[in-house]
């Protein structure tokens, strides 16, 4: 049992990683990006292409793909989100959903229905493991993913509270007009935030490809995992996302124990329970993510 808990916690690191960009964009731009999962899969395909065609290791490939993802984030904000957000809260949902359909089907058109993995390109890392006391084996890759999630979430927290750019992003998200009055370039702050969010999505896509298989339509489940982790994480800080990811993974592990098909059901049920608790306690939930540092700083 303790083995399953440890594996669950490590899987939670991946969920926190993929949830990170979603909740970051939501808290800053007030937009839930429905193309989130599809963009992660896009990044995985880009790394797969670099590895299989040009023999570039996925880790080196990140040096190319992450800046590319940042550029996509910037463009996304400038050309799609900024424009559609002016039409009210509903249009960005429709815009990003349309974008997801386009990305998924373009990937299908380009790569077909085959499932792929980045595992063959990272040598023995995909199956290497450490033996822990109590006859527990933990995968090196799973630990790397977990550590990346912790560093990324912590780094984002520090960036938002301790840098000028981070403060201007927070100011813009709180009140763009007032931020503008005190000399913050709101458009730039939002575009930078979107670029940062897409870098985290790119990383999540890389780890998705290394730890599992993916196909052109794998974006939707990733989006749901990210959303569930963020909602379960609920109020608090970016660390809430990490807790949410771990709870989601543990619920899935537990679900799989109960029934052969219980893995996904367990996660969805955990999401509903978290939602129920949150609604009855009228907590802040996803909305409250990143709010804590803002309050601390003020």
């Amino acid at each position: 049992m303790s083995n399953q808990i440890i594996q669950g916690i490590l899987l939670g690191g991946y969920y926190a990683l993929i949830a990170c960009g979603l909740s970051f964009m939501f808290s800053v731009m007030r937009i839930i990006n429905l193309a989130h999962g599809s963009l992660a899969v896009l990044s995985a395909f880009a790394l797969w292409l670099l590895a299989s065609r040009f023999h570039i290791s996925p880790f080196l490939g990140l040096l190319i793909v992450l800046p590319l993802m940042a550029a996509i984030g910037w463009a996304l904000q400038r050309f799609l989100l900024e424009r559609s957000a002016r039409g009210g809260a509903l249009l960005p949902i429709l815009t990003t959903f349309g974008l997801a359909i386009v990305i998924d089907n373009l990937l299908f058109e380009q790569f077909g229905a085959d499932t792929r993995s980045l595992a063959p390109f990272i040598g023995s890392l995909s199956y290497d493991s450490w033996e822990w006391p109590g006859n527990i084996y933990v995968g090196k890759l799973a630990v790397i993913i977990f550590m990346t999630a912790v560093v990324l979430l912590g780094g984002l927290q520090l960036f938002l509270t301790h840098t000028g750019l981070g403060r201007s992003i927070r100011a813009t998200s709180a009140d763009p007009d007032t931020a503008g009055l005190v000399g913050v370039d709101a458009r730039r702050a939002m575009a930078v935030a979107a670029a940062i969010a897409m870098v985290t999505v790119g990383l999540a896509g890389a780890f998705l490809g290394m730890r599992a298989t993916f196909d052109p339509y794998a974006g939707a489940p990733q989006l749901l995992f990210a959303f569930e982790a963020a909602v379960i994480g609920g109020a608090g800080s970016l660390w809430g996302t990490l807790i949410g990811g771990i709870v989601l993974a543990l619920a899935q592990t537990l679900g799989a124990q109960v029934h052969p098909q219980g893995f996904l059901i367990g996660g969805h049920v955990a999401f509903l329970i978290a939602l129920f608790i949150r609604l009855s306690a009228s907590g802040l939930g996803l909305r409250g993510l990143l709010r804590l540092p803002a309050r601390k700083a003020s």
Partner: protein, 353 residues
């Protein structure tokens, strides 16, 4: 100008003609199977189902401000409950409608959860509900997971009776749902719905029952989409959970409503008609067809968020089936303010220069 009383209008000559035309079209459609080929009857049945889907999603999103990407849950449940009820011995045609009532009833507890969510959270929360329901339906032994099952009890009817009966049921369901929606939107509930969409807090402050009204729309949309799912099952016989709980159904609804004109009664119908034509012509293009749909939805939401009908309505003042009231200044007053006032201003500014 202030002396001129504004006209408050609803029914116009055009809208009265449109209402008569709509009645004629429905009457014509009712007798159409006698002249149409079997294939055409099937295709037009699909069109009726698309109109239901578009109108119901538009009721929820366009009038209620509730964008859901999980409406496939009700489509799938409509088909699933039909299978279950028919398996329990109910006449398959009756099962289709009882199933929709069950779907409507099931949507009530879902609404207790989901209507507490806002915007994007509601949209994707519904998607989670759809994913969960899909998995739970797969657990049913009758369904046998993704293998699915069939509505075998329809086999006692011969093919042509079946085809025409389903056609008429679809036409009747579409007409009834559109009529109910039209009546609802024209009445005081309609005013409440639009008030909530425009500003929820303001609506609540003047005594609109926000939660109750939203719940009504939510249940109506679930019921309508449940009928659509049940009818789709009747036309295709086989039930595979993957096909019915596929998010593409919601994608189609979004496409139809966005292109036709979100929040306009006529727009959803126009969108369904356009989608039907596009599917007939380009559906065989496979993946490029889907890319085209996604891209079109994207472009419309960015450049023409009011859709085709909304834009035409704005430009030409068209009202075929008016659900709201319109305040308009009498013709001569518009002339004074619109046509004469601006040249006067231009001359004064020129004189100053």
């Amino acid at each position: 100008m202030s002396a001129v009383a504004p006209l408050i209008e609803r029914g116009t000559a055009t809208s009265r003609i449109a209402a008569i035309a709509a009645a004629l079209i429905i009457a014509l459609l009712a007798i159409a199977p006698q002249f149409l080929s079997a294939g055409a009857v099937d295709r037009i049945t699909a069109l009726f189902i698309y109109v239901i889907l578009a109108a119901m999603w538009n009721a929820l999103a366009g009038f209620g401000g509730l964008v859901s990407v999980g409406q496939q849950v009700f489509f799938g449940l409509g088909a699933y409950f039909s299978i279950r009820l028919a398996n329990a011995g109910l006449n398959p045609f009756v099962a289709l409608f009882v199933s929709a009532i069950v779907v409507g009833a099931a949507s009530w507890p879902i609404s207790l959860f989901m209507l507490r969510l806002k915007n994007g959270e509601f949209a994707i929360g519904m998607w989670v509900i759809a994913a969960l329901t899909h998995l739970l339906v797969n657990l049913d032994r009758l369904v046998q997971g993704e293998t699915g099952t069939s509505l075998i009890s329809l086999n006692v009817y011969d093919a042509s009776t079946r085809r025409v009966t389903i056609y008429w049921l679809a036409l009747a369901s579409m007409t009834a749902l559109l009529a109910v929606l039209f009546g609802l939107l024209r009445g005081s509930t309609g005013a409440a719905i639009r008030a909530i969409r425009d500003n929820e807090d303001a609506a609540a402050s003047i005594g609109v029952r926000v939660t109750g009204t939203k719940r009504l729309l939510f249940v109506l949309a679930a019921f309508g989409i449940g009928i659509a799912g049940a009818l789709w099952l009747a036309t295709s016989i086989t039930f595979q959970p993957k096909t019915y709980f596929n998010v593409q159904w919601t994608a189609y609804m979004i496409f139809m409503v966005l292109v036709g004109g979100i929040g306009t009664f006529e727009g959803a119908i126009l969108g369904a008609l356009l989608f039907f034509l596009i599917e007939t012509w380009f559906g065989s293009a496979g993946v490029w067809y889907l890319i085209g749909l996604g891209a079109t939805a994207l472009v419309f939401s960015l450049l023409l968020p009011r859709g085709l009908w909304g834009t035409l309505e704005e430009r030409f003042g068209w009202r075929l089936l008016p659900v709201g009231y319109r305040v308009r200044l009498p013709i001569n007053a518009t002339d004074t303010t619109g046509e004469i006032a601006s040249p006067v201003q231009t001359t004064t500014s020129r004189e100053k220069a």
